[in-house]
Amino acid sequence: MALLAACSAAFGLLWSGDATLWNIIWISVKTCVIALLLATPPAVIIGYAIASYRFPGRRILIWLAQAALALPTVLVGLLLYLLLSRQGPWGSLHWLFSQSGIIAGQVLIAIPVLLAFTIAAVQAADPRFAETAIAHGASSWRVMLTLLHEVRFGVMAALISGFGRVISEVGCAMMVGGNIAGETRTITTAIALETSKGDFAQGIALGIVLISIALVMNGALLLLQGDAQAARQGWK
Protein backbone atom coordinates (compact mmCIF):
# COMPACT_ATOMS: atom_id res chain seq x y z
CA MET A 1 0.00 0.00 0.00
CA ALA A 2 2.95 2.27 0.70
CA LEU A 3 4.03 1.79 -2.89
CA LEU A 4 0.58 2.73 -4.22
CA ALA A 5 0.50 5.81 -2.01
CA ALA A 6 4.00 6.80 -3.19
CA CYS A 7 2.99 6.30 -6.82
CA SER A 8 -0.13 8.43 -6.50
CA ALA A 9 1.91 11.12 -4.73
CA ALA A 10 4.42 10.90 -7.58
CA PHE A 11 1.75 11.56 -10.22
CA GLY A 12 0.45 14.40 -8.04
CA LEU A 13 3.92 15.96 -8.07
CA LEU A 14 4.25 15.61 -11.83
CA TRP A 15 0.85 17.12 -12.62
CA SER A 16 1.22 19.92 -10.08
CA GLY A 17 4.21 21.23 -12.03
CA ASP A 18 6.46 21.08 -8.96
CA ALA A 19 9.25 23.55 -9.75
CA THR A 20 12.03 21.61 -7.99
CA LEU A 21 11.10 18.44 -9.82
CA TRP A 22 10.98 20.04 -13.25
CA ASN A 23 14.24 21.86 -12.59
CA ILE A 24 15.93 18.50 -11.95
CA ILE A 25 14.48 17.14 -15.20
CA TRP A 26 15.61 20.23 -17.08
CA ILE A 27 19.19 19.95 -15.76
CA SER A 28 19.33 16.27 -16.74
CA VAL A 29 18.02 16.78 -20.25
CA LYS A 30 20.11 19.91 -20.82
CA THR A 31 23.42 18.32 -19.77
CA CYS A 32 22.70 15.16 -21.79
CA VAL A 33 21.80 17.05 -24.96
CA ILE A 34 24.86 19.33 -24.72
CA ALA A 35 27.12 16.33 -24.01
CA LEU A 36 25.77 14.48 -27.05
CA LEU A 37 26.08 17.54 -29.28
CA LEU A 38 29.73 17.77 -28.26
CA ALA A 39 30.52 14.05 -28.41
CA THR A 40 28.65 12.97 -31.55
CA PRO A 41 30.52 14.77 -34.37
CA PRO A 42 34.05 13.69 -33.32
CA ALA A 43 32.92 10.19 -32.29
CA VAL A 44 31.08 9.57 -35.57
CA ILE A 45 33.97 10.89 -37.69
CA ILE A 46 36.55 8.88 -35.74
CA GLY A 47 34.29 5.79 -35.83
CA TYR A 48 33.95 6.16 -39.61
CA ALA A 49 37.73 6.54 -39.99
CA ILE A 50 38.43 3.47 -37.84
CA ALA A 51 35.92 1.42 -39.83
CA SER A 52 37.04 2.65 -43.26
CA TYR A 53 40.82 3.01 -43.19
CA ARG A 54 43.56 0.48 -42.55
CA PHE A 55 46.29 1.77 -40.26
CA PRO A 56 48.54 0.33 -37.55
CA GLY A 57 46.76 0.04 -34.21
CA ARG A 58 43.30 0.03 -35.75
CA ARG A 59 42.24 -3.24 -34.17
CA ILE A 60 43.51 -2.04 -30.80
CA LEU A 61 41.29 1.05 -31.10
CA ILE A 62 38.25 -1.11 -31.92
CA TRP A 63 39.08 -3.34 -28.96
CA LEU A 64 39.44 -0.33 -26.63
CA ALA A 65 36.19 1.28 -27.85
CA GLN A 66 34.28 -1.94 -27.29
CA ALA A 67 35.89 -2.58 -23.91
CA ALA A 68 35.08 1.00 -22.85
CA LEU A 69 31.37 0.17 -23.25
CA ALA A 70 31.67 -1.80 -20.03
CA LEU A 71 33.57 0.95 -18.21
CA PRO A 72 31.82 1.68 -14.86
CA THR A 73 30.67 5.28 -14.83
CA VAL A 74 31.97 5.74 -11.27
CA LEU A 75 35.44 5.05 -12.65
CA VAL A 76 35.00 7.82 -15.21
CA GLY A 77 33.75 9.96 -12.31
CA LEU A 78 36.81 9.13 -10.22
CA LEU A 79 39.17 9.94 -13.09
CA LEU A 80 37.45 13.26 -13.79
CA TYR A 81 37.32 14.07 -10.08
CA LEU A 82 41.10 13.67 -9.88
CA LEU A 83 41.62 15.75 -13.02
CA LEU A 84 39.19 18.52 -12.04
CA SER A 85 39.89 18.77 -8.30
CA ARG A 86 41.66 21.89 -7.11
CA GLN A 87 45.08 20.19 -7.13
CA GLY A 88 44.38 18.32 -10.37
CA PRO A 89 45.80 19.29 -13.78
CA TRP A 90 42.47 20.79 -14.89
CA GLY A 91 41.62 22.32 -11.52
CA SER A 92 41.85 25.85 -12.90
CA LEU A 93 38.75 25.17 -15.03
CA HIS A 94 36.61 25.12 -11.82
CA TRP A 95 34.39 22.47 -13.35
CA LEU A 96 34.15 20.25 -10.28
CA PHE A 97 30.60 20.33 -8.83
CA SER A 98 29.29 22.23 -11.84
CA GLN A 99 27.14 21.37 -14.84
CA SER A 100 30.27 21.66 -17.03
CA GLY A 101 31.81 18.85 -14.99
CA ILE A 102 28.72 16.67 -15.49
CA ILE A 103 28.80 17.39 -19.24
CA ALA A 104 32.50 16.47 -19.41
CA GLY A 105 31.75 13.15 -17.70
CA GLN A 106 28.82 12.47 -20.01
CA VAL A 107 30.97 13.19 -23.07
CA LEU A 108 33.51 10.62 -21.87
CA ILE A 109 30.75 8.08 -21.18
CA ALA A 110 28.97 8.67 -24.52
CA ILE A 111 32.05 8.50 -26.76
CA PRO A 112 32.64 4.71 -26.50
CA VAL A 113 28.95 3.99 -27.24
CA LEU A 114 28.89 6.35 -30.23
CA LEU A 115 32.21 5.00 -31.49
CA ALA A 116 31.36 1.32 -31.17
CA PHE A 117 27.94 1.69 -32.82
CA THR A 118 29.30 3.85 -35.65
CA ILE A 119 32.16 1.41 -36.32
CA ALA A 120 29.66 -1.48 -36.46
CA ALA A 121 27.28 0.42 -38.75
CA VAL A 122 30.00 1.54 -41.20
CA GLN A 123 31.65 -1.90 -41.28
CA ALA A 124 28.27 -3.48 -42.07
CA ALA A 125 27.65 -1.11 -45.01
CA ASP A 126 27.85 -2.55 -48.52
CA PRO A 127 31.38 -1.72 -49.81
CA ARG A 128 29.88 -0.76 -53.19
CA PHE A 129 28.55 2.50 -51.64
CA ALA A 130 32.04 3.81 -50.91
CA GLU A 131 33.45 2.39 -54.17
CA THR A 132 30.68 3.97 -56.25
CA ALA A 133 31.28 7.31 -54.55
CA ILE A 134 35.05 7.07 -55.14
CA ALA A 135 34.63 5.89 -58.74
CA HIS A 136 32.43 8.92 -59.45
CA GLY A 137 35.08 11.30 -58.21
CA ALA A 138 33.90 12.05 -54.67
CA SER A 139 36.44 13.56 -52.27
CA SER A 140 37.23 11.67 -49.04
CA TRP A 141 34.93 14.04 -47.16
CA ARG A 142 32.06 13.45 -49.62
CA VAL A 143 32.60 9.69 -49.50
CA MET A 144 32.24 9.90 -45.71
CA LEU A 145 29.07 11.99 -45.86
CA THR A 146 27.60 9.63 -48.49
CA LEU A 147 28.36 6.55 -46.44
CA LEU A 148 27.11 8.06 -43.18
CA HIS A 149 23.89 8.96 -44.99
CA GLU A 150 23.53 5.34 -46.12
CA VAL A 151 24.06 4.05 -42.56
CA ARG A 152 22.05 6.82 -40.93
CA PHE A 153 19.80 4.39 -39.04
CA GLY A 154 22.84 2.81 -37.42
CA VAL A 155 24.20 6.24 -36.51
CA MET A 156 20.78 7.14 -35.11
CA ALA A 157 20.86 3.97 -33.00
CA ALA A 158 24.30 5.05 -31.76
CA LEU A 159 22.89 8.42 -30.77
CA ILE A 160 19.91 6.98 -28.93
CA SER A 161 22.02 4.41 -27.11
CA GLY A 162 24.44 7.16 -26.16
CA PHE A 163 21.56 9.27 -24.86
CA GLY A 164 20.23 6.29 -22.89
CA ARG A 165 23.62 5.67 -21.35
CA VAL A 166 24.26 9.26 -20.25
CA ILE A 167 20.78 10.09 -18.98
CA SER A 168 20.63 6.93 -16.89
CA GLU A 169 24.12 7.03 -15.37
CA VAL A 170 24.41 8.08 -11.74
CA GLY A 171 27.97 7.41 -10.57
CA CYS A 172 29.82 10.05 -12.54
CA ALA A 173 27.14 12.75 -12.15
CA MET A 174 27.15 12.17 -8.40
CA MET A 175 30.93 12.34 -8.01
CA VAL A 176 31.69 15.18 -10.43
CA GLY A 177 28.42 17.10 -10.04
CA GLY A 178 28.05 16.72 -6.32
CA ASN A 179 24.21 16.55 -6.39
CA ILE A 180 23.77 20.24 -5.53
CA ALA A 181 20.06 21.21 -5.48
CA GLY A 182 19.12 23.46 -8.38
CA GLU A 183 22.64 23.25 -9.83
CA THR A 184 23.89 19.76 -10.45
CA ARG A 185 21.04 17.58 -9.17
CA THR A 186 20.04 15.31 -12.04
CA ILE A 187 17.20 12.79 -12.28
CA THR A 188 19.38 9.86 -11.25
CA THR A 189 21.26 11.58 -8.44
CA ALA A 190 17.95 12.92 -7.10
CA ILE A 191 16.40 9.44 -7.13
CA ALA A 192 19.38 8.11 -5.15
CA LEU A 193 19.09 10.98 -2.66
CA GLU A 194 15.29 10.89 -2.21
CA THR A 195 15.33 7.12 -1.74
CA SER A 196 18.00 7.39 0.94
CA LYS A 197 15.84 10.02 2.68
CA GLY A 198 12.77 7.76 2.45
CA ASP A 199 10.91 10.22 0.16
CA PHE A 200 9.77 7.71 -2.41
CA ALA A 201 7.19 9.92 -4.16
CA GLN A 202 9.75 12.21 -5.76
CA GLY A 203 12.00 9.27 -6.61
CA ILE A 204 9.15 7.45 -8.33
CA ALA A 205 8.04 10.61 -10.16
CA LEU A 206 11.55 11.07 -11.52
CA GLY A 207 11.72 7.38 -12.39
CA ILE A 208 8.50 7.74 -14.39
CA VAL A 209 10.02 10.67 -16.30
CA LEU A 210 13.22 8.71 -16.99
CA ILE A 211 11.28 5.74 -18.32
CA SER A 212 9.05 8.03 -20.42
CA ILE A 213 12.11 9.63 -22.02
CA ALA A 214 13.54 6.17 -22.78
CA LEU A 215 10.21 5.03 -24.27
CA VAL A 216 9.87 8.09 -26.50
CA MET A 217 13.48 7.92 -27.74
CA ASN A 218 13.37 4.19 -28.49
CA GLY A 219 9.88 4.44 -29.99
CA ALA A 220 11.22 7.03 -32.44
CA LEU A 221 14.10 4.69 -33.33
CA LEU A 222 11.72 1.79 -33.90
CA LEU A 223 9.62 3.92 -36.25
CA LEU A 224 12.71 4.95 -38.20
CA GLN A 225 14.06 1.40 -38.36
CA GLY A 226 10.67 0.25 -39.60
CA ASP A 227 11.09 2.62 -42.53
CA ALA A 228 14.57 1.31 -43.23
CA GLN A 229 13.32 -2.28 -43.27
CA ALA A 230 10.48 -1.42 -45.64
CA ALA A 231 13.02 0.18 -48.01
CA ARG A 232 15.24 -2.91 -47.89
CA GLN A 233 12.35 -5.28 -48.52
CA GLY A 234 11.40 -3.24 -51.52
CA TRP A 235 14.98 -3.48 -52.74
CA LYS A 236 14.93 -7.30 -52.65
Binding site: I134, A135, H136
Partner: protein, 224 residues
Protein backbone atom coordinates in the same frame (compact mmCIF):
# COMPACT_ATOMS: atom_id res chain seq x y z
CA UNK B 1 59.67 1.94 -76.99
CA UNK B 2 59.70 5.39 -75.46
CA UNK B 3 56.52 5.75 -73.48
CA UNK B 4 56.51 9.53 -73.77
CA UNK B 5 55.99 9.19 -77.52
CA UNK B 6 52.81 7.16 -77.64
CA UNK B 7 50.59 7.95 -80.62
CA UNK B 8 48.04 10.73 -80.16
CA UNK B 9 45.12 8.34 -80.24
CA UNK B 10 46.42 6.33 -77.30
CA UNK B 11 44.36 6.88 -74.18
CA UNK B 12 46.19 4.71 -71.71
CA UNK B 13 49.38 2.71 -71.89
CA UNK B 14 50.56 0.67 -68.93
CA UNK B 15 53.75 -1.32 -68.87
CA UNK B 16 54.19 -4.39 -66.70
CA UNK B 17 50.89 -4.36 -64.85
CA UNK B 18 50.99 -7.06 -62.21
CA UNK B 19 48.68 -8.46 -59.60
CA UNK B 20 49.96 -10.93 -57.07
CA UNK B 21 48.23 -12.70 -54.21
CA UNK B 22 51.11 -13.58 -51.94
CA UNK B 23 53.44 -15.76 -53.97
CA UNK B 24 51.02 -16.52 -56.80
CA UNK B 25 50.75 -14.16 -59.76
CA UNK B 26 47.16 -13.53 -60.88
CA UNK B 27 48.31 -11.75 -64.02
CA UNK B 28 51.41 -10.08 -65.39
CA UNK B 29 50.65 -7.91 -68.43
CA UNK B 30 53.75 -6.59 -70.26
CA UNK B 31 51.83 -3.98 -72.30
CA UNK B 32 48.28 -2.73 -71.95
CA UNK B 33 47.22 -0.15 -74.51
CA UNK B 34 43.76 1.37 -74.79
CA UNK B 35 42.93 3.64 -77.73
CA UNK B 36 40.65 6.67 -77.59
CA UNK B 37 37.00 6.09 -78.47
CA UNK B 38 37.44 2.31 -78.73
CA UNK B 39 35.38 -0.43 -77.13
CA UNK B 40 36.99 -3.56 -75.71
CA UNK B 41 35.51 -6.67 -74.24
CA UNK B 42 37.63 -8.37 -71.64
CA UNK B 43 37.03 -12.10 -71.58
CA UNK B 44 38.54 -14.95 -69.62
CA UNK B 45 37.45 -17.78 -67.40
CA UNK B 46 36.08 -17.10 -63.92
CA UNK B 47 38.93 -16.19 -61.59
CA UNK B 48 41.23 -15.04 -64.42
CA UNK B 49 41.26 -11.57 -62.87
CA UNK B 50 38.91 -9.62 -65.18
CA UNK B 51 37.19 -7.73 -62.37
CA UNK B 52 40.51 -7.20 -60.59
CA UNK B 53 42.02 -5.70 -63.74
CA UNK B 54 39.09 -3.30 -64.16
CA UNK B 55 39.20 -2.36 -60.49
CA UNK B 56 42.94 -1.66 -60.74
CA UNK B 57 42.36 0.60 -63.75
CA UNK B 58 39.64 2.36 -61.73
CA UNK B 59 41.91 2.87 -58.73
CA UNK B 60 39.77 0.71 -56.47
CA UNK B 61 42.56 -1.84 -55.95
CA UNK B 62 46.24 -1.14 -55.43
CA UNK B 63 48.08 -1.47 -58.73
CA UNK B 64 51.68 -2.34 -59.42
CA UNK B 65 53.06 -1.17 -62.76
CA UNK B 66 56.46 -0.14 -64.02
CA UNK B 67 55.11 2.76 -66.09
CA UNK B 68 51.81 4.40 -66.93
CA UNK B 69 51.06 6.98 -69.61
CA UNK B 70 47.66 8.65 -69.57
CA UNK B 71 46.91 10.92 -72.54
CA UNK B 72 50.61 11.33 -73.23
CA UNK B 73 51.41 12.20 -69.64
CA UNK B 74 53.62 9.92 -67.58
CA UNK B 75 51.91 9.17 -64.24
CA UNK B 76 52.30 6.91 -61.23
CA UNK B 77 49.46 4.43 -60.71
CA UNK B 78 49.89 4.48 -56.96
CA UNK B 79 48.60 6.68 -55.39
CA UNK B 80 45.91 6.82 -58.04
CA UNK B 81 46.35 10.05 -60.06
CA UNK B 82 43.57 12.67 -59.96
CA UNK B 83 43.80 13.08 -63.78
CA UNK B 84 42.64 9.48 -64.13
CA UNK B 85 40.12 9.67 -61.28
CA UNK B 86 38.29 12.51 -62.98
CA UNK B 87 38.22 10.79 -66.40
CA UNK B 88 37.60 7.11 -65.57
CA UNK B 89 34.33 5.72 -64.21
CA UNK B 90 33.82 2.16 -63.02
CA UNK B 91 30.38 0.50 -62.88
CA UNK B 92 29.83 -2.58 -60.71
CA UNK B 93 28.32 -5.80 -62.03
CA UNK B 94 25.42 -5.17 -59.65
CA UNK B 95 25.39 -1.37 -59.35
CA UNK B 96 24.24 -0.01 -56.03
CA UNK B 97 21.88 2.93 -55.77
CA UNK B 98 22.26 5.60 -53.11
CA UNK B 99 19.14 5.90 -50.98
CA UNK B 100 18.20 9.23 -52.54
CA UNK B 101 16.16 10.15 -55.62
CA UNK B 102 16.86 8.96 -59.16
CA UNK B 103 18.03 12.45 -60.20
CA UNK B 104 20.26 12.69 -57.15
CA UNK B 105 21.85 9.34 -58.00
CA UNK B 106 22.54 10.31 -61.60
CA UNK B 107 23.84 13.74 -60.62
CA UNK B 108 26.12 12.36 -57.88
CA UNK B 109 29.40 12.70 -59.78
CA UNK B 110 28.46 16.13 -61.13
CA UNK B 111 27.96 17.43 -57.60
CA UNK B 112 31.26 15.81 -56.57
CA UNK B 113 32.92 17.78 -59.39
CA UNK B 114 31.29 21.02 -58.27
CA UNK B 115 29.22 21.51 -61.46
CA UNK B 116 26.72 24.39 -61.07
CA UNK B 117 23.27 23.06 -60.01
CA UNK B 118 21.41 24.42 -63.05
CA UNK B 119 23.91 22.94 -65.51
CA UNK B 120 23.99 19.66 -63.57
CA UNK B 121 20.19 19.43 -63.63
CA UNK B 122 20.16 19.87 -67.41
CA UNK B 123 22.84 17.20 -67.88
CA UNK B 124 20.96 14.82 -65.56
CA UNK B 125 17.79 15.32 -67.62
CA UNK B 126 19.73 14.53 -70.79
CA UNK B 127 21.19 11.37 -69.23
CA UNK B 128 17.74 10.28 -67.98
CA UNK B 129 16.37 10.59 -71.52
CA UNK B 130 19.41 8.76 -72.98
CA UNK B 131 19.01 5.80 -70.61
CA UNK B 132 15.21 5.76 -71.01
CA UNK B 133 14.55 5.87 -67.29
CA UNK B 134 12.28 8.93 -67.12
CA UNK B 135 9.32 6.77 -66.09
CA UNK B 136 11.27 5.64 -63.00
CA UNK B 137 11.65 9.17 -61.67
CA UNK B 138 9.14 8.69 -58.87
CA UNK B 139 10.49 5.26 -57.85
CA UNK B 140 12.81 4.60 -54.98
CA UNK B 141 16.10 3.74 -56.79
CA UNK B 142 16.78 0.93 -54.28
CA UNK B 143 13.62 -0.85 -55.45
CA UNK B 144 14.48 -0.88 -59.19
CA UNK B 145 15.04 -4.14 -61.08
CA UNK B 146 18.53 -5.28 -62.11
CA UNK B 147 18.19 -3.95 -65.66
CA UNK B 148 16.79 -0.62 -64.49
CA UNK B 149 19.62 -0.21 -61.99
CA UNK B 150 22.16 -1.00 -64.71
CA UNK B 151 20.68 1.69 -66.97
CA UNK B 152 20.60 4.25 -64.14
CA UNK B 153 24.22 3.35 -63.34
CA UNK B 154 25.18 3.85 -67.01
CA UNK B 155 23.43 7.23 -66.95
CA UNK B 156 25.23 8.09 -63.69
CA UNK B 157 28.53 7.31 -65.41
CA UNK B 158 27.73 8.82 -68.83
CA UNK B 159 26.71 12.17 -67.39
CA UNK B 160 30.34 12.66 -66.37
CA UNK B 161 31.50 12.28 -70.01
CA UNK B 162 34.31 9.92 -68.95
CA UNK B 163 37.22 9.25 -71.29
CA UNK B 164 37.25 5.65 -70.13
CA UNK B 165 34.30 3.66 -68.84
CA UNK B 166 34.93 0.35 -67.10
CA UNK B 167 31.90 -1.95 -67.02
CA UNK B 168 31.99 -5.17 -65.02
CA UNK B 169 29.64 -7.69 -66.66
CA UNK B 170 27.07 -5.07 -67.71
CA UNK B 171 24.60 -7.60 -69.10
CA UNK B 172 25.14 -10.47 -66.66
CA UNK B 173 22.00 -11.65 -64.88
CA UNK B 174 19.82 -9.67 -67.28
CA UNK B 175 17.60 -11.23 -69.86
CA UNK B 176 15.06 -10.31 -72.51
CA UNK B 177 14.24 -6.66 -72.98
CA UNK B 178 16.39 -5.48 -70.04
CA UNK B 179 19.51 -7.04 -71.58
CA UNK B 180 18.78 -5.64 -75.04
CA UNK B 181 18.19 -2.16 -73.63
CA UNK B 182 21.58 -2.22 -71.91
CA UNK B 183 23.36 -3.61 -75.01
CA UNK B 184 21.76 -0.89 -77.17
CA UNK B 185 23.15 1.86 -74.94
CA UNK B 186 26.78 0.74 -75.15
CA UNK B 187 27.65 1.66 -78.79
CA UNK B 188 26.21 5.15 -78.25
CA UNK B 189 28.84 5.72 -75.58
CA UNK B 190 31.76 5.13 -77.97
CA UNK B 191 30.10 7.42 -80.49
CA UNK B 192 30.36 10.14 -77.84
CA UNK B 193 34.15 9.58 -77.78
CA UNK B 194 34.29 7.42 -74.68
CA UNK B 195 36.52 4.33 -74.57
CA UNK B 196 34.94 1.32 -72.92
CA UNK B 197 36.34 -1.81 -71.38
CA UNK B 198 33.68 -4.39 -70.49
CA UNK B 199 34.41 -7.58 -68.64
CA UNK B 200 31.86 -10.01 -70.05
CA UNK B 201 30.86 -13.37 -71.44
CA UNK B 202 27.91 -12.05 -73.43
CA UNK B 203 28.26 -13.05 -77.10
CA UNK B 204 26.01 -10.22 -78.22
CA UNK B 205 28.34 -7.70 -76.60
CA UNK B 206 31.43 -9.40 -78.00
CA UNK B 207 29.90 -9.28 -81.49
CA UNK B 208 29.00 -5.60 -81.39
CA UNK B 209 30.58 -3.92 -84.44
CA UNK B 210 34.02 -2.42 -83.82
CA UNK B 211 34.50 -4.09 -80.48
CA UNK B 212 38.02 -5.37 -79.84
CA UNK B 213 38.57 -8.45 -77.75
CA UNK B 214 41.04 -8.73 -74.91
CA UNK B 215 41.45 -12.14 -73.34
CA UNK B 216 43.00 -12.83 -69.96
CA UNK B 217 44.47 -16.30 -70.05
CA UNK B 218 46.92 -17.88 -67.65
CA UNK B 219 48.05 -14.53 -66.33
CA UNK B 220 48.64 -12.92 -69.76
CA UNK B 221 46.50 -10.56 -71.83
CA UNK B 222 45.93 -11.29 -75.51
CA UNK B 223 44.43 -8.86 -78.02
CA UNK B 224 42.30 -10.73 -80.52
Amino acid sequence: MNLMHTPNDTLLHIKRLRKCHGQSVLFDIPDLTLERGSAYVLTGVNGAGKSTLLRMLAGLEPAEASACVWLGQRLQLSPYPPQMRSAIVYVHQHPIMFSTSLEHNIGYGLRARGVAPALAAAQVEEAIAWAGVAHLRASNPATLSGGEKQRVALARAKVLAPKLLLLDEPSANLDGAAREQVIRLIPTLTLAGCSIVMACHDRDLIKLPGVLRLKLREGALELR
